[in-house]
Symmetry: C2
């Protein structure tokens, strides 16, 4: 029972095992389309998530099926690839075998690409997690959606003003793109979508707080744009607080710089930490726990093992690369190129170099910012560009048209189409543990 | 803390409390639109489910948001109505108060409409439920979806032929409309949608069994149509077995007429039982536990309490009325008419009389049956009528257009757009308890 899994079509082709079906892993698999290899992509879920739009599921604008697609479907026509839904249990570098949970059969590899991404980081305060869910998976997003909607439902029922205030206070911890986008979206939800539907509360009185320990919102953008976003959020009624250190999160809410803020809905949009790849490898990492890789993205002393995307520590021109989709996609593509060259006996391509295609963030309806080289744009035109790029990048999915229709509908009517509370709606307690 | 909830806009208007936001409860609320009453609709979820299309969520064709809409949104513009997401804990008929779970504040009523619907019935074998989920709520549908998809995923991974056979055997217990529709849909999923995506199994070899203890499928239709559906299903490769008594359901599968059938995915589409309204009322019921109501749909000795839809025992021309959406809608409308007349001091309308608008069922793509009076239709034309009626009846929802686009897409490409496994994918074990 320890032979490699299922007889391969050809014994002679090198086996490439890719762990993770996010942007990095998929990009590696798709880039190896014409290489004479056998690819196995392993993911613990059956779907790829289009992360940049995940917040729209949390805010009940899109359905899960509109921002996620079965990995199996994406790779259906790529004959040198197979997909396996399984959890990785461990790694034996010497025998080149991946162990899977719930399976006695290991996966043998000739090349291994680790694209396991990042998990939320609570900066040593893992006890916050039960009270402040984050947004990484579809299950997270639907749990956050249930929490936000249930807060309004419970506020409508209560007669205790203090309790009502706590239920109608939404706190976002972390003013990166996800925090900013969520803040803008909740501000619009309370203002445009919900007002006519309640009889005992006025959803417009709900507070939305965006907290960050740093000195400004969206630190990955230039100061000019950061300032514009700050102003825009304030005009939308979001209370933006920078230099705000969250000291505690519990059932009552948060404590920020010593001040308690009662809130039943705290969402963690702060930091991420890489998944346990470094442990599997026993490899050196940077301070954030990301694996230090060579310039060809392989692990020192194991040049058959690649670490890409958020799991890798990449420094370019003295600055660490950000944990964004573009880095994952480009590192995935590079790893594929190196593997293809080695299999073909060709000289390896040059060292990996990230090409920054620009940076986008959206703040509610009609407003986005864009930064690409010296181009800086804020407002409606940037929003049109944002929408076009995101619709276009959903190419992998079959339901691009659906998202367009849904967006157009939401845009015209301000009605959110996916306002379902499917999980137990105990707004006061901790959310159910995410099932992924 | 026991005063009635929140000061009403006018103390003089009678209070109508409706329990349940299904077809019956919503129809009652909407029909009271112009009556001088204050309506409170209580439901434990925040959404109305369009039950006739729920099976399409289970089969990964539609997303939950496409067959469900927030009750609050449906009633947003009806000023005499409010919505409360809460679970009913009990009823005090003498003081006319409804007790809610998690709330010390009771709901006072002048009229009470109980529209709590039906729950699946395992005919005294509640231990089957863990192994054979049913299809009543959105949570059920996504759980069934996860189970079906995970079965194919796990079959792809296993190397044990017996285990693979068990994983690729789908059993539907009960050949009513839901069972027939699910059987047709799974048969098409395995045949058209999945074949190119797996490398170690051929999804087309999956078995689909439709079992029923009765003598024919779809007993609510005429024998001619029932026969046609039976033949159609067999041509699609569904193994239809009538006179099949399910004696046991467990981890291994089912035992039918003494014969064990190994299956990891058993779906219960057999019977329903009414929710615990009879207990609350202490009222007499029929053999199925449905409350016997007067001809005006009220409870004996409590003419301010109505029971409608699946929770009521209704007999017309010597035959019990079926548990279908039309009965729920028409009883809801009738209860509203009686209430409006009494409030206005007008004479009550005549006794309730059900008007049968016809019966429809769909079997896969392109094929449906229709029976209305003497009209009997089977085939593509009936399917077009089925699609038109269902699209039209989604009027309450904002996303009719989305469903059209999704259907058109699925129809043209045979790709299912919502193939996500969001719950833990342990195909072998019992499903997590549904979170509603």
């Amino acid at each position: 029972m320890t032979a490699p899994l299922a007889p391969p079509p050809s014994r002679t082709r090198p086996r490439v095992v890719i762990v993770g079906g996010g942007f990095g892993g998929l990009s590696a698999a798709l880039s190896l389309k014409r290489a004479p290899v056998r690819i196995t992509l392993v993911d613990r879920t059956n779907h790829h998530v289009f992360q940049p739009l995940l917040y729209q599921v949390a805010i009940a604008m899109l359905s899960p099926g509109e921002v996620a697609a079965p990995i199996r479907q994406i790779l259906a026509r790529q004959e040198n690839a197979e997909v396996m839904m399984a959890e990785v249990a461990g790694l034996d570098l010497d025998t080149r075998r991946l162990r899977l949970a719930d399976s006695p059969i290991p996966l043998d590899y000739d090349f291994l690409v680790l694209a396991t991404g990042a998990a939320p980081s609570y900066f040593g305060h893992d006890e916050f997690e039960g009270w402040a869910p984050s947004l990484k998976s579809i299950a997270d997003a639907t749990a956050v959606r249930a929490r936000i909607l249930a807060a309004f439902e419970n506020a409508e029922r209560t007669r205790d003003p203090a309790q009502r205030g706590r239920l109608l206070t939404f706190v976002l911890v972390g003013a990166g793109p996800t925090g900013v986008e969520m803040a803008g979206a909740i501000a619009e939800l309370r203002r445009f979508t919900l007002p006519h539907e309640f009889r005992h509360i006025d959803p417009r009185t709900a507070r939305v707080l965006l907290l960050d320990a740093g000195s400004r919102v969206l630190p990955s953008f230039s100061e000019v744009l950061s300032r514009k976003v700050h102003d825009r959020l304030q005009r939308m009624g979001v209370e933006v607080r920078v230099g705000a250190r969250v000291e505690r999160v519990d059932q009552e809410g948060v404590i920020v710089n010593g001040e308690p803020i009662a809130s039943s809905t705290v969402i963690w949009t702060a930091g991420v930490k890489p998944s346990p790849v470094a442990q599997w490898l026993g490899a050196p990492t940077d301070a954030a726990g990301r694996v230090r890789v060579e310039r060809d993205l392989t692990v020192p002393r194991h040049h058959e093992v690649f670490v890409i995307g958020d799991a890798a520590a990449l420094v370019q021109d003295g600055r660490p690369l950000p944990g964004v989709a573009q880095v994952a996609i480009q590192t995935g593509r590079h790893a594929a190129r190196v593997i293809a060259a080695r299999v073909a006996g060709r000289p390896a391509p040059g060292p990996f170099r990230y090409r920054d295609l620009g940076n986008l963030a959206v703040i509610g309806r009609n407003y986005a910012i864009l930064e690409s080289g010296r181009v800086r744009l804020a407002g409606f035109v940037a929003w049109i560009i944002w929408a076009a790029i995101h619709i276009n990048n959903l190419t992998l999915f079959s339901d691009r048209l659906l998202v367009l229709v849904q967006w157009a509908w939401t845009y015209l009517t301000r009605q959110h189409g996916a306002r379902l509370i499917v999980r137990p709606a105990g707004g006061a307690g901790p959310p159910t543990a995410p099932p992924t």
